[in-house]
Amino acid sequence: MRNPQRTEKIAFFFLFLATLVIALPVGLVVIIIISKGLPAINWQFLSDIPRQGMRSGGIFPAIMGTVYLVTGAIIFALPIGLLAAVYLSEYAKDNLLTRVIKLAIVNLAGVPSVVYGLFGLALFVVFFKFGASILSGSLTLGIMILPIIITASREALESVPYSFREVSYSLGASKWQTIRHIVLPNAIPGILTGTILGLGRAAGETAPILFTVAAFYLPQLPKSIFDQAMALPYHLYVISTQVPNVDEKIRYATALVLLVLVLCMNLVAILIRYQFRKRKKW
């Protein structure tokens, strides 16, 4: 005879163990990076340009480069992603074309980031002759986060109760009025959450910016969207592998700044979602 209580205990043990295995690396990453990087963080590190072949000074141009790139990516990806999501969830008929488009979006999310880098190089840098520039990098990152934004926006739009749309129609509103005044306002928190998660992804990726924008070393800030820029993930890669004798503290401090930036974005997303849940009463 099997003892159900013992089976239960064994199951519980393995389930708990698996959960612990997930939590452990996350905690370790945070602890190691903070303990090794925090001592090097000061105002000069955050506000100065890199000096002495990036072995001292700060990472200001890389921080600003990442801010520019992320901003550019969102300016490009949010409107397109949102419009596409509205079309797909509100207007598209369930036919072959729609299914192909939905499949394409899912696949786009699964493409390795280095492939986006090569694609950006071929299309924006070479074909459109934007050169290695903030424009090329932003567009490449924008395409990379499109599927995230579209998927999150579709989920947000589709979670708006059908009864709201029904009432809106019953009052003589057209389809577009219903979307504009009822569906979109109620979907905004979900859309924002998805967008910020996309931002975090764009801020952290190295491969897509490798060939399209990232500068090895630039002592000044970019002057236009056609300039190259430094960026945090690439800078981290450079000082970790390409420049000899960089103090470990500086490497970890750079990683910490990047991590905090991305975590902050995720935190904002969580806060928005929390506010939204609190308000949502249907």
């Binding site: 009432v167 009025q177 949502k280």
Partner: protein
């Protein structure tokens, strides 16, 4: 009683995919009267009233054979605009469903989407609608609070006010009291009797007593067919069809 026919269904058949939900229904809806539609669940009552304001258009893979008229105009003709129709034929749903907006905004919404921008006019109309829906006294000091804070019965009267604000000619009630307590139900019924002076009313209800209390005419639906349609009093006191008699005496359904 006014005998003008406001809406008319003529040999209406309706299909969800291959399933036939309504079978050859012909029914006159008289102006300034209350027409109740009764019948067991799944008999096509809701499907039928949702044809009257073309809400079924929103469901894919449906098909209608037959005609529906509003003031002698075919509402399903190519020239007819469903958006225009829904302004004239309003609807109150089973579950109170205010928008997550303020009380004021809920009622002004229908005016807003109909391009009525004049602030004074909108305000007057909002107040007027709240008064007609017997909600004004309860909410006059908190028009700008969220409509979701109201009780279920108040929310349903708000939904009625929202519907009245666009000045419909016909109001369709789809089991409006299904989720309300007896006191709220009584208020809604009282309101319906008041509203029929100005509007033509069609009400779907599970509750036969409710039909007997509020309706001038009653239609009994069974399995997608119209079994009997008559003045309420006659239908309840002297049903012509055995199935009607069985239903109203509580032998099934």
């Amino acid at each position: 009683m006014d005998e003008v026919v406001k809406m008319k269904a003529e040999n209406v058949n309706f299909f969800y995919g291959k399933t036939q939900a309504l079978k050859d229904i012909s029914l006159d809806i008289h102006a300034h009267s209350v027409t109740a539609i009764i019948g067991p669940s799944g008999c096509g009552k809701s499907t039928f009233i949702r044809l009257l304001n073309r809400m079924n258009d929103l469901i894919p893979h449906t098909q209608l054979i037959g005609r529906v008229y509003l003031d002698c105009q075919d509402v399903f003709s190519h020239a007819a605009d469903p958006v225009e129709l829904r302004r004239r034929v309003g609807m109150v749903f089973q579950k109170p469903n205010p928008f997550p907006k303020s009380i004021f905004e809920n009622i002004a919404y229908g005016l807003h989407v109909n391009n009525i921008k004049d602030k004074d006019f909108v305000e007057t109309r909002v107040i007027e609608s709240l008064k007609k829906a017997a909600l004004w006294e309860e909410v006059r000091h908190r028009l700008h609070e969220s409509a979701l804070k109201l009780s279920g019965g108040q929310q349903q009267r708000l939904c009625i006010a929202r519907c009245l604000a666009v000045s419909p000619e016909v109001i369709l009630f789809d089991e409006p009291c299904a989720s309300l307590d007896p006191i709220s139900t009584a208020k809604i019924e009282e309101l319906i009797l008041e509203l029929k002076k100005e509007y033509t009313i069609v009400i779907v209800t599970h509750n036969m007593q409710q039909a007997a209390r509020v309706a001038d005419y009653t239609a009994f639906f069974l399995l997608g067919e119209l079994i009997e349609f008559n003045k309420t009093q006659e239908l309840f006191t002297a049903p012509k069809d055995k199935k009607t008699e069985a239903y109203i005496t509580g032998r099934f359904g």
